[in-house]
């Protein structure tokens, strides 16, 4: 009986070496070429940065408890207020830079993509393992430069570095921008690596349309990373040149055009929001079918819509510039395209819901995250739609409504999906299970916290509160207080999460090969996988389908799912 033999195979694998304990020296980690180890290092570094960024967010929210500022405020004279608020500005700038450039953009591809992509594909590693290691170290170098610049004189420009303020300010812009330049190269190399890997390392039988959707999403993301990030690099270089040599590209005092910078910046940064959201959608497209035990609805649509979003996403950057004086014709075109790109995102939500329809749904932690994602992303997307309407953007631009919008999509979307992905692949990464009760509690608490934080921001923004304010009119205070309470709730949720995840690392129950009953390849190798991923290179049968669950059966004895059908060979040929 297949069940038994798999069970035994599992036990045998448990005693074997895996990628975590194959070698144990620090060197073997720092200079590893194993995509899984690099993924884990990304995860560790990224979560550390996420923690720092998060604490800065708590500082921001605490400051905004009272209209004049609770932490940074003046001592009576207006100059003392200016001096105090400068520190607040440094705090939100750092928060934005860390979260955008060091967490949202690199983390899903860097941590989860690196870990899961070759496994899901059935490959031994990425195409260029050395380049992969270089990506990681560029990421670390960028972060270190950012830390140095912060110690020397924390930047106060906002994460957008708008000129001419970024040229005028006395803070260490050049150093910070150099750091982000390195982060950009890290991102480009990762994208390049993934594109080549997906093109070249698919095992025999793994056609494009047999790939799990996470791979499609990662592929579309990689295209944006490779095509858009160089523009960011050039823009930042120009900014450095402008600051150091005073050429007059962006500086109006020297005949430059500050709006040009905004175009360059958003030409990267709008596609960058799809770098953040597409892999997140990919994760959701894995979790929802798995936990519904039902084939993803409309595979082709979900796959192609990722590419469509990636391509159209290059043509909507001007929606960030509706009130900066660009011509009305341009405004109209950008507004139109913005609406166009919103539709495929919306349709994906229907696809996920249709996948759940008549499924056999189990609300384990990853699925709870996926459901949170669907709801939060819906709110985020719809608020994006109103911002895309020209007349509405005039009254909402640069207010807390925009802050609310992008936190709903970036936190409610990307971060929630990333946490869902971490919980989904955690057993595979570490071979350990976590405490399901506390994990669900933290997820629900986080869902409440996110809404409590960002919903009042939507309201107060519509009511007229501008963003990036260290102090504000008293009438906005109730909303601000509610938002801050939400941020504290989130903090509690994260502390719970950190506790049970650490507990899992050291004391967690051993994870089975396939704890969730997923059909994709990474769940056929041991948890954690061996260094070479698979004992034998997977051969994909003609009927292989990562979203077919009919041959998987829960086995209470091992707490995971096993194949019930006869199959050829121990783990590596998949008929259906």
């Amino acid at each position: 009986m297949a069940t038994i033999s798999l069970h035994e195979a599992d036990a045998a694998v448990g005693k074997r070496k895996n990628y975590l304990n194959q070698t144990t020296t620090i060197r073997s980690w720092l200079f590893t070429l194993d995509h899984k180890r690099i993924g884990l290092m990304y995860l560790a570094a990224g979560l550390t940065l996420f923690f720092i960024g998060g604490m800065l967010a708590e500082v921001i929210r605490t400051q905004l408890l009272v209209p004049t500022g609770l932490i940074f405020h003046g001592t009576g004279t207006i100059q003392s207020s200016y001096a105090a608020y400068k520190h607040y500005n440094q705090v939100f700038t750092l928060h934005g830079i860390i979260m955008v450039f060091m967490v949202l953009v690199p983390m899903i591809p860097g941590a989860l993509g690196n870990f899961a992509l070759p496994l899901m594909l059935g490959a031994k590693d990425v195409a260029f393992p050395r380049l992969n290691l270089l990506s990681f170290w560029l990421y670390i170098s960028g972060a270190v430069l950012a830390v140095i610049s912060t110690i020397m004189g924390a930047v106060d420009t906002g994460w957008t570095f708008y000129t001419p303020y970024s040229i005028d300010t006395s803070t260490y812009v050049v150093l910070m921008v150099s750091g982000i330049f390195l982060l950009g190269f890290s991102s480009i190399f990762t994208g390049l690596n993934f594109i080549v890997t997906i093109h070249k390392l698919r095992p025999f039988g793994m056609t494009w349309f047999r790939m799990p959707l996470f791979l499609w999403a990662t592929y579309a993301t990689a295209v944006i990373q490779v095509a858009a990030t160089p523009v960011l690099g050039v823009t930042l270089l120009l900014l450095i040149v402008e600051r150091v040599m005073g050429i007059g590209i962006f500086n109006p005092a020297l005949g430059g055009n500050p709006v040009l910078f905004q175009h360059f910046f958003w030409f990267y940064s709008h596609p960058a929001v799809y770098i953040m959201i597409l892999p997140a959608m990919g994760i959701i497209s894995e979790i929802v079918p798995t936990f519904s035990r039902k084939h993803i609805f409309g595979y082709e649509f979900v796959a192609f819509s990722s590419l469509a979003i990636a391509l159209i996403g290059f043509m909507v950057w001007g929606h960030h510039l509706f009130v900066n004086g660009q011509s009305a014709e341009l405004d109209a075109i950008f507004s139109f395209l913005t609406f166009l790109v919103a539709v495929p995102s919306a349709v994906k939500v229907w696809n996920w819901l249709a996948t759940m329809y008549k499924g056999a749904i189990k609300l384990d932690t990853p699925m709870l995250y996926a459901l949170s994602f669907i709801i939060l992303f819906t709110i985020g997307g719809l608020t994006g739609v109103v911002l895309g309407a020209l007349a509405e953007d005039v009254v909402l631009h640069d207010t807390y409504f925009v802050v609310g919008h992008f936190h709903y999509v970036m936190f409610g979307g990307t971060i929630i999906a990333m946490l869902g992905g971490i919980h989904y692949w955690w057993p595979k990464m570490f071979g350990k299970m976590y405490n399901e009760f506390w994990a669900r509690t933290a997820c629900i608490l986080l869902f409440i916290g996110v809404n409590l934080t960002f919903f009042p921001q939507l309201m107060v923004g519509a009511y007229g509160m501008p963003r990036r304010y260290a102090s504000y009119l008293p009438k906005y205070q109730p909303y601000m207080v509610a938002s801050t309470i939400g941020a504290y709730v989130q903090l509690v949720a994260f502390l719970i999460m950190a506790s049970y995840l650490l507990h899992s690392l050291f004391r967690g129950k051993k994870a089975p090969v396939n704890p969730w009953g997923s059909g994709s390849l990474e769940w056929t190798t041991s948890s954690p996988p061996p260094t070479d991923n698979f004992d034998t290179i997977p051969v994909i049968g003609d009927h292989y389908d990562p979203y077919d669950y009919s041959h998987l059966q829960f086995d209470p004895a091992i707490g995971g799912y096993v194949h019930t059908e006869e199959h050829v060979g121990p783990h590596h040929v998949y008929h259906r």
Partner: protein, 499 residues
């Protein structure tokens, strides 16, 4: 301390809470754009609430209805795609967003195209304040707007990006340095609103707010008159230093320069006048009148050690013709002097701090008459030399010389050379001879009659400064001086002499 701060504000939370949520979250609109914005917003609001609720209900319903149980381990059979369904749920959102796009665009064009006959106000943004200039050269920190009148705002920035944003009036535009940004709006409700800077601009960004007052046309005119008349308060002419203190905040100098000796982005004004200043080029100079004047007018020329070259060029902000500019400049320098323990005659402006005091009796004025008399030819009836000299002095101290030349050269206003006794064509089509009555009237009521070919730009403040019995002597002195410049002067053009 933080705690007590929190507790204090606790009570103030209850009140606003009841008013939370505004008008569908928006502030109550007060411009012609507001109803359109509100309509589209409510439409969007309903769409969002509908779809969000639908999706929440579906996720919850599916999670319960199709939950996995002991007996239900597998999904029910159902297709994994359905083309008609997929087309439907793509097309419906597409239609909805296209409607929103069309409405958003239409309303946006209304915001973009101003009507022809607008009232124009200048807006100057700088770190971290707003200054407004009106057609009568009034300058204010409060934005006054006339009710039901289309207003066009021409906006410039002295330094970095700023964002002009009045939530209640449903209008926002970035102010990009190096360009003139224009917007228009028409207020429809009297009230007091806030202008807040929306585009991040540095340390004081969140304090870069100004009150906005929409007033009935009559009230509006009153506000403007008051704003224009910075020199007089309750009928009393103010000392220049006091006016200067007002200007210090009107023009936003206080954004960088402190008055109490504390640190700022620029050098403090405390004990500046008359003291030594270290320059970035290594020199040390004394902050005398000439230095202060130059430092204000040409900020970058003599940089003070330890400060960046970031002060904006203010000269053009001192709205209005040269004499008002000059006068404002002097007021500012008087204020700087009033803050210094080393202020002295070298650091003070030549024009007296309290108008109408020193200068008239100053012996220095006595030197002039001979020259003046000589210049006027002396062939006619004798001129009262001392009075003419006083008039000439006033001609420059009051700043008349900024617009009116005394040698026949063209200026912003008619030259005073050969004015008295000559016929003057007016914009109302009439022609009047410039006799004493005429000249007097033109000085005291500059806006009532305007000479053809000139703009009605002469400030009304002279009416206050030179009108009334107390100022009769000064007014006549000026008119004597004007007479002294004309070859057609005579009894009808000269101020009445004797009793």
């Amino acid at each position: 301390m933080i705690l007590s701060n929190l507790l204090q504000t606790h009570a103030s939370l209850i009140g606003p809470l009841s008013k939370m949520a505004g008008d569908w979250w928006l502030p109550k609109g007060a411009s012609t754009f507001s109803p359109e914005v509100r309509f589209l917003w409510i439409l969007f609001f309903c769409i969002t609430v509908f779809f969000t609720s639908l999706i929440v209900v579906l996720t919850v319903f599916f999670s319960i209805r199709y939950r996995r149980t002991e007996n239900r381990q597998h999904a029910d059979p159902s297709p994994d795609h359905n083309t008609p369904l997929e087309i439907t749920w793509t097309v419906i959102p597409l239609i909805i967003v296209m409607v929103i796009f069309a409405l958003g665009f239409k309303y946006y064009m209304n915001m973009n195209v101003p009507p022809t006959n607008t009232y124009n106000i200048g807006v100057k943004a700088q770190k971290w304040s707003w200054t407004f200039t009106y057609p009568n050269h009034a300058v204010s920190k409060t934005l006054y707007l006339p009710l039901n009148r289309a207003v066009k705002l021409s906006m410039t920035s002295a330094d970095v990006l700023h964002g002009f944003w009045i939530p209640s009036l449903s209008i926002q535009k970035d102010v990009v340095p190096g360009r003139v940004m224009t917007i228009w709006l028409e207020p429809t409700r009297v009230g007091r609103y806030e202008l807040q800077c929306a585009e991040y601009c540095g340390d004081g960004h969140s304090l870069m707010r100004s009150p906005v007052i929409v007033a009935s046309p009559a009230k509006f005119a009153e506000y403007l008159k008051a704003a224009a008349n910075i020199w007089v308060h309750n009928g009393k002419t103010l000392p220049l230093a006091q006016v200067g203190r007002e200007l210090y905040s009107t023009y936003g100098c206080n954004g960088c320069h402190t008055a109490d000796g504390s640190m700022g982005t620029g050098p403090t004004w405390k004990n500046l006048a008359g003291n030594q200043v270290q320059l970035a080029n290594g020199q040390t100079v004394t902050a005398d009148y000439a230095y202060l004047r130059q430092a204000i007018l040409y900020p970058g020329r003599k940089l003070v050690k330890g400060y960046g070259n970031i002060m904006p060029d203010f000269y053009n902000d001192f709205a209005g013709p040269g004499h008002t500019r000059n006068r404002r400049l002097n007021a500012m320098i008087w204020y700087i002097n009033s803050l210094s323990n080393k202020a002295n005659s070298a650091s003070q402006p030549k024009i007296p701090n309290i108008p109408g005091t020193k200068a008239m009796s100053a012996p220095a004025a006595g030197k002039a008459p001979a020259k003046t008399t000589a210049a006027s030819g002396g062939a006619k009836s004798a001129l009262p030399a001392a009075t003419v000299a006083m008039g000439e002095k006033l001609y420059s101290t009051l700043g008349c010389n900024a617009c009116h030349t005394n040698n026949g050269k063209p200026g912003a206003g008619p030259t005073w050379k050969n004015l008295a006794g000559y016929p003057q064509a007016l914009t109302n089509g009439k022609t009047e001879v410039a006799d004493y009555k005429y000249i007097r009237y033109m000085i005291l009521h500059p806006d009532k009659k305007v000479v053809k070919g000139f703009a009605p730009i002469m400030p009304a403040i002279y009416g206050a400064q030179l009108g009334g019995a107390a100022n009769q002597k000064k007014l006549d002195a000026i008119i004597w001086y004007i007479n002294s410049l004309s070859d057609k002067r005579g009894p009808s053009t000269e101020p009445p002499t004797g009793k």
